[in-house]
């Protein structure tokens, strides 16, 4: 029984990691209707920026607050320089750029920061694990941060005019332009926000899995699965999806199929869900008139 509880909490902790990256994927999807494969690598790169600041003597939260706007600028610049010229190009061209970005960020990070594993500090204190050793302070703290980010995104899209304009720009650029929404600015904003959320996710993930240029490769896969499971149009759904993937993966691996088929089980369930409910568990089915 103790073991089961331990596995469950450990699954929630991994789920928190997937959920935070899934949020960044939802953000970019909401803002641009694309899934950015380089999201994980951009987050990893931002985390290195934060680490560099911390190593230079900047206190943690100050480094955090500097890294987020830097990442925002990085995202917005990428949209302006790389994605805007491709606005009318077929979707495959964008996919090509995303993959190119992924490789670029990965190699540049390796070149600048080396491939050696680096520890990343946690702001929540090293201290003894809580609840009888089940969950570390960091896991608890980072889950809280993920929830705060989730709430902000939800409120942003739900209650602000800007959020509405962004959704409109992604959903129907032509009509949005006609009603006066500056579509290009909205897209750049979306990229910036996604990069910022990614940066936060990176800084929350790195203390758990250690920082190296390939840190996000595995995480992105699970985050993607979580986002699809919960519904990529719904931030709350993506977060819940991330947690579900984490829990299924842990419990399935420990008690049902064994560690070799852990990932397979998670992906199998996703395929089933998507077959039955293509928009994901919590996603809205979007009908667009042609």
């Amino acid at each position: 029984m103790d073991g089961l509880l331990h596995q469950l909490i450990s699954g929630i902790a991994s789920g928190g990691i997937y959920a935070s990256v899934a949020l960044a994927l939802v953000m970019i999807y909401q803002a641009t209707h694309h899934v950015n494969f380089a999201q994980g690598e951009m987050a990893m790169f931002s985390t290195y920026i934060a680490l560099t600041l911390i190593q230079a003597g900047v206190p943690y939260w100050a480094a955090f607050c500097i890294t987020v706007p830097i990442s925002f600028a990085m995202g917005a610049v990428i949209q302006r320089v790389l994605m805007e010229p491709l606005a009318k190009a077929p979707i495959l061209a964008s996919v090509g750029v995303f993959i190119g970005l992924l490789l670029m960020f990965n190699s540049v990070a390796g070149w600048i920061f080396t491939y050696t594993l680096k520890p990343f500090p946690t702001p929540f204190g090293e201290g003894k694990p809580l609840f009888g050793g089940f969950i570390s302070r960091h896991e608890l703290g980072s889950t809280a941060i993920t929830l705060v980010v989730l709430l902000s995104i939800w409120a942003f899209f739900r209650f602000t005019r800007l959020g509405l304009a962004m959704r409109a720009a992604a959903f129907n650029p032509v009509s949005s332009r006609l009603v006066g929404v500056p579509v290009n600015k909205m897209l750049a904003l979306g990229w910036g926000l996604a990069a910022s959320i990614g940066a936060i996710a990176g800084m929350m993930v790195a203390p758990v899995i250690f920082l190296d240029p390939n840190m996000m490769a595995g995480v992105l896969l699970y985050a993607f699965a979580g986002a699809l499971l919960g519904g990529i149009t719904n931030p709350l759904g993506a977060v819940i999806g991330g947690f579900i993937v984490g829990i299924i993966e842990n419990l399935g691996g420990a008690y049902v199929v064994g560690t070799e088929l852990k990932l397979t089980t998670a992906l199998f369930i996703i395929v089933v869900v998507l077959t039955v409910k293509p928009a994901g568990l919590f996603g809205k089915t979007v009908v667009s008139r042609v």
Binding site: D2, G3, H6, Q7, S10, G11, A13, S14, I17, Y18, G110, T114, Y115, T116, L117, K118, P119, P129, G133, S136, V205, V208, I209, F210, D212, P213, N214, A217, G218, V219, L221, Y222, E249, N250, G253, A254, G258, T259, E260, K262, L263
Partner: protein, 403 residues
Amino acid sequence: MKRRSLLATAGAALAAAPLARALADTVVGVTATEIKIGNIMPYSGPASAYGAIGHGHVAFFKRLNEQGGVGGRKVNFITLDDGYSPPKTVEQARRLVEQEQVAFLFNPLGTPNNSAIQKYMNQKKVPHIFLSTGADKWGDPEHFPWTMGWQPSYRTEAQIYAKYIMKNKPAAKVVVLYQNDDFGKDYLIGLKDGFGKDYAKYVLKEFSFEVTDATIDSQAVSMQATGADTIVTAATPKFAAQMIRKVADMNWKPLHFLTNVSASVGAVITPAGPEKAVGIITSAYAKDPTDPTWDKDAGMIEWRAFMKKYLPDADLTDGGYVFSYGVCTTLLQVLKQCGTDFSRENIIKQAASLKNLVVPTLLPGVIVSTSATNFHPIRQMQLSKWSGKTWELFGDIIEGTGA
């Protein structure tokens, strides 16, 4: 027909008289004044830190040539970059064999990289020797008579851990964490060799993980739940660091054996927390350049003098240079044993005829031996324990159980 073979004999005799005896054998890449040796290293890309090994080789052959070479010939050492990418390794191996016409390939680096060229090298019958990888499959003379490893294989290492456990902790309850690939599975095979028929008695359960997993926390939790008191961890640095930290966080204090692939202080122990790793056991076969034990050691003094003269700007804490010196010394012995017959057949034959060779950078008592059926040159290691600050060697040299 007769005249042609006569001509060939005359030609060979003219080119290099001492080679005439080996007429049936293939002599490529060797002239009266030179031996051409090929090598492939990751000078760029994710494993570029290992490039130090290649730089060490270049310096070693420079010194050899200054001292007059070997077998009356200078070494022409050609080393190419594959960026640690196996398709590139194939391309470079072809270039070395077909275009540069090297006598043999020496010490190409990486398990996937060497796997990619092993068949080709054996089809072409070009010696592919003393590889920079610890996979066990390089010692398979029956199927791959042209390929030979050098360092102790992962399998040998696991045999040594099993041997130690059986002798010092006969009531141990062991769990294994292994990476689900060739590297991790070599450890399982080694433990099976080592424990033999008692395997099921010692090992409660094996836990695998995929390199794509984000964490191994779930496995660590299950491992503790088995009630085991001994762990063998066969994981690459990132997962090894996670394992060390998770075991400490769970307040679990097992006897922990860690693959020497992940024994790096900088890449594993420091990120995980040096205090959390206290008591972890790994194994070594070469002298650690940062260990003060070897300050007055003749072999390491020889190595440091070499480094000072030929690689004055190199980082002396980088084990890659120690590795390079050891493997080059072994090759030099093979070339000396060849005498003047540098046919490919004789090179591989001499590589498989090393008798109790002492290499200055290997731990005292570790010897290099090969035979026609033993293509595992180094099969002995010594255990070492993390004290909180350094790895400390302890106990005797232990030899692996298999061939």
